[in-house]
Symmetry: D2
Subunit: 341 residues, 4 copies
């Protein structure tokens, strides 16, 4: 059975397990002050091209989103997000639980918050004479890739950054699946660009080859994020557990190599499905593919691979998600395409 | 200048000012334990037809909405509201500031949350396999009248109540302008119905003839709402200030009589405008009327009355709000209609 | 029966009731944008001696404390308070409900936070190697008078301000009973001093002659306090209700004159009790007096005046609170002293 | 260098690392619905002797404390804790950040909340006529062992449980170092007792041999804790990471065996130090020992072992913490004692 159901249902890349095993016998400083974490942070600063970047390792995505937003928003502010954004839908109200409204805007077909949509909202918000009676926009939340595997272009991100500057908003980018975005054959977005544009973003580990862990990168020093993330239960006593993993991920470009496997197998899958005349909704450029399969195709696939039904239609067809990862091989892709022939 | 701009820009009904002045020299028990408050609560229990109802006097609408919802929701729950609901738009994120998501559904043309919309949402929510990753629906928020002056029918409220029972939701009704709803010539909703159907609702004072104050009516005894509303800064040290007012409002049906003035003048206004061929959007049955006026009509009106532009159109016409209140007279209405002829 | 039980159990000073009645017939801008509020703010700025001060009118004390602290604290910060401070004891956890810890320090015998205590705490806090694992001190909360009627001296306030500057703390002073402090025969603290030293403080109305209302004075412009206090339910739709009262209070020094009545009658009471050999605990300099009365004295007093027992002792004696106010007369004081002879 | 500085500065027990490595290649259900987690929960239910217990795996201690308390407290409630309790001091205000006050009581010399102290507080709380103006007690927080290594007796826990029943409080026990408590030669508290007395407690993994992870055990089914802990960022996408570890910990009594190593080496250390005439403050019965060492003894120790200074005294002596763990050997203890001779 080939697994295309999800990118967080196996452990970690063998390199990380080896590093964890190697680090297991020895003593480490606690709460992230260990040498592995220091090394990992240094490597991430280099990869981002910002020697001043402040890096923290948190455990998971929802925790990171809520903790970062709670730290950068002022009490009367909300965060702007695509209506389909993870914080708006699938985090059980975690952002609201910290006291902040998620201000949702219609996403484009790729799940992205289009700069034009953002601009129109901001203009109309401040044009409304009652705007001081509303939750004030304080930050913009993007995910890259989006929930639908969509990728922002560098131009879109620059335009959003310009709007943030114009309206006094902080820019936060959720990179839970960032490896697959960075490694997409179709992207012009890289780590230094994100490090330069975002006030804060995170480099996802959990879905990109780690056991757990997300590396939060602030553009500027954060004198208070230590108690801020301790307060949200996001500070690991054994922080070296995360440092060891990110140290390995940022050694010899492992992070990008893992991302490449997921992104390239997704691209091959897309090309193959397209050749078979399969439509997409949408046709994304990262590791999540959303083809619409006929009843017959679904039946064929079910025997060979595990995947998720996104939406079922009355005629038996369905929009499905085929999710590749750092573990997906060329053989897996070939087998899927073969099954559909 | 006739004032149809809003229903909270003058003081209180003369009866209330007289009562306040009369009560001013004497000593009262504090924090709502005074005799006036006790009397007012007794009268409200009688009006609602529920001897077990627990009544509290709070100061204003946003405070009441946030305080009540924070008390009845569990941490992981959100509150369902029409997308145009006051808590969703115009309370600066007050509900979110207490940790709860506002779950917005499309309203009908009158700003109401249609039972069918609610049912469809609840069914689809629990049919979604990821529903435990979302904020859980915990309560339904209605306002009666709605932001657009719309009124629920008794049948709609009963259907919503049945859905609440089916799905374990509490029902909360915001009655900031309740007097104008109860006194509408077109309603079949009265206080005993609300007292029977709602877990909690409030009888608005601020917009219905009081200086300030909202009477929160719980269907059942609330052993903990005292510290709960103290904690939100919603407990007035001089609670008798509210007790005196509600005592007056519920003496000799003053509350309904004040409502009637607003509702009847609105009905007369509507009839007159309709006779002049003026369209509405929507045509509401309470004290807020939303006619669409031509540029010429707007110009005529501006000299005689103050009102709010809701939306301007390119051709110079506009959707306006004409808001009557307990102070609006038949002469006012006649003058408006005369001006438009 | 002479009432020395409390300073918030009657309505407002006649001047305020007259002003409210006079303002009752006319139309006012809403949400605090009315002319009365503007006038009141201007007068308060003049009284404080700071043309840049930003003034807001809120309704009650707990609301004001929680709303202001939530606006000036960052999420990871707590507020330092005397352990006997109102926010630490009698606000049902209102500050914590906004997400912030109240960091309590031992008060001196007058309920004051002594500068030396504050300095020792701050030094030891930052000397503790685990300090980043604790709630960070973000503000200092004082009340003047304190819960025990104690008054800070100008020197103490200056020393506390210097500590705030040294440690990056904001200084917030709760002036619920400020009139009685400002009018104390023994104080060297006046409004300009408070306006110069405090980042924010409030001039209490509720306990000093108003029906309700507290005037919050920020040393600097607050571009975001409008949505911040709307969000906490602390923005009154009919803000003119508060503006009218503070306009009257700051006309012809009414606020100080009302304070003087309470403070002078308390001073006379104290002197008289002292002459009778009655001990105090503590001997405060504002409108709350805390004498320890024998069983016999208690019996005598009970027939003539209402007051609160603070603590009962096994021998039948008790520490009581005699609370004067703007309504207390020289005759009242004479009657109390006469009763005890 | 022998490490007695802390019990969370190395990875996990070899058995757990082996289990993690073995589980690494295979696919697991996500969000804790995997077979390992199911197995681990079953074993924990058996160990606790409660087939109805509801078990959840969270990541760390502060996260667990805040998440559980936020789920079991009502908004107006606080949690009672020893003043030296971890939630009161070293969690950066995490509980307050969820809106709840920590109500601190004086601990006994072992850091325990004595039943008598609790009873006296509850009696005096409800005897205070202003109690409804305070944060209401909603739960009791204990840690076992305490911050000072102290252990509750079964009798104390039963007495506290009885008080909880009498006053409507939930009982929550923090077992971050539970293994060392359960394995103490001096305890009469075991898992079934905790499972029967506590509404909820947790079995600490991080400090007791796991890489990370705490097993939260509720006495009754919790239909809503899934969204509740998702909302606090405490739900791990790869929940099997925790399931695998707790499955190993609860196989062949590994958890107790690991605890025994820490507890027995601590007991041997204590006995040896006592024989050398070293005083303790306090003399605890679990894996943390708090001897007071002379300047000379400190110097000798520093060459051989790493440990933490708890408090330094002017004469050069110091109260230190010697913290054993599942890794401490009899040889380690012998070396420490030898060094001090």
């Amino acid at each position: 059975m080939i697994d295309l159901s999800c990118d967080y249902n196996v452990g970690c890349a063998p390199e990380l397990m080896a590093a964890l095993a190697a680090a297991n016998g020895t003593q480490h400083a606690t709460y992230g002050f260990d040498a592995c974490s220091a090394r990992a942070k240094e490597k991430i600063r280099a990869a981002v091209g910002n020697a001043d970047a402040d890096v923290f390792f948190l455990v998971g995505g929802t925790q990171t989103n809520a903790t970062v937003l709670a730290a950068i928003l002022r009490p009367w502010e909300g965060v702007i997000s695509a209506a389909s954004g993870h914080i708006a839908v699938h985090e059980s109200g975690a952002v609201e639980a910290t006291g902040h409204k998620v201000l949702t805007l219609e996403a484009d077909e790729f799940g992205r918050l289009a700069p034009g949509t953002l601009r129109a909202y901001l203009r109309s918000f401040y044009a409304d004479p009652t705007y001081t009676h509303m939750a004030q926009p304080g930050a913009v939340y993007l995910s890259h890739p989006t929930e639908l595997g969509g990728l922002y272009t560098a131009a879109m991100l620059r335009e959003i950054r310009a709007l943030c500057d114009e309206y006094g908003l902080r820019l936060f980018l959720d990179g839970a699946r960032l490896a697959y975005a960075l490694a997409s054959p179709e992207t012009d977005v890289d780590l230094p660009l994100l490090g330069g544009l975002c006030d804060v973003f995170y480099i996802g580990g959990t879905k990109c080859g780690a056991l757990c862990g997300e590396a939060v990168v602030f553009r500027e020093k954060q004198p208070h994020f230590f108690p801020a993330h301790k307060q949200r239960g996001a500070l690991l006593a054994k922080g070296f557990l995360l440092g060891v993993q990110f140290d390995a991920l940022f050694t010899d470009d492992l992070y990008l190599r893992l991302g490449k496997r997921g992104a390239e197998s997704a691209a091959a899958l897309r090309e193959g499905l397209r050749a078979l005349g399969v439509p997409f909704s949408p046709e994304s450029a990262s590791n999540q593919q959303f083809p619409v399969l006929t009843a017959e195709q679904l039946e064929k696939l079910r025997e060979k691979i595990s995947f998720e039904i996104w939406q079922s239609y009355p005629d038996g067809s369905a929009l499905v998600r085929l999710c590749t990862s750092w573990r997906t091989t060329a053989d897996d892709v070939a087998a899927v395409l073969e099954a559909l022939k």
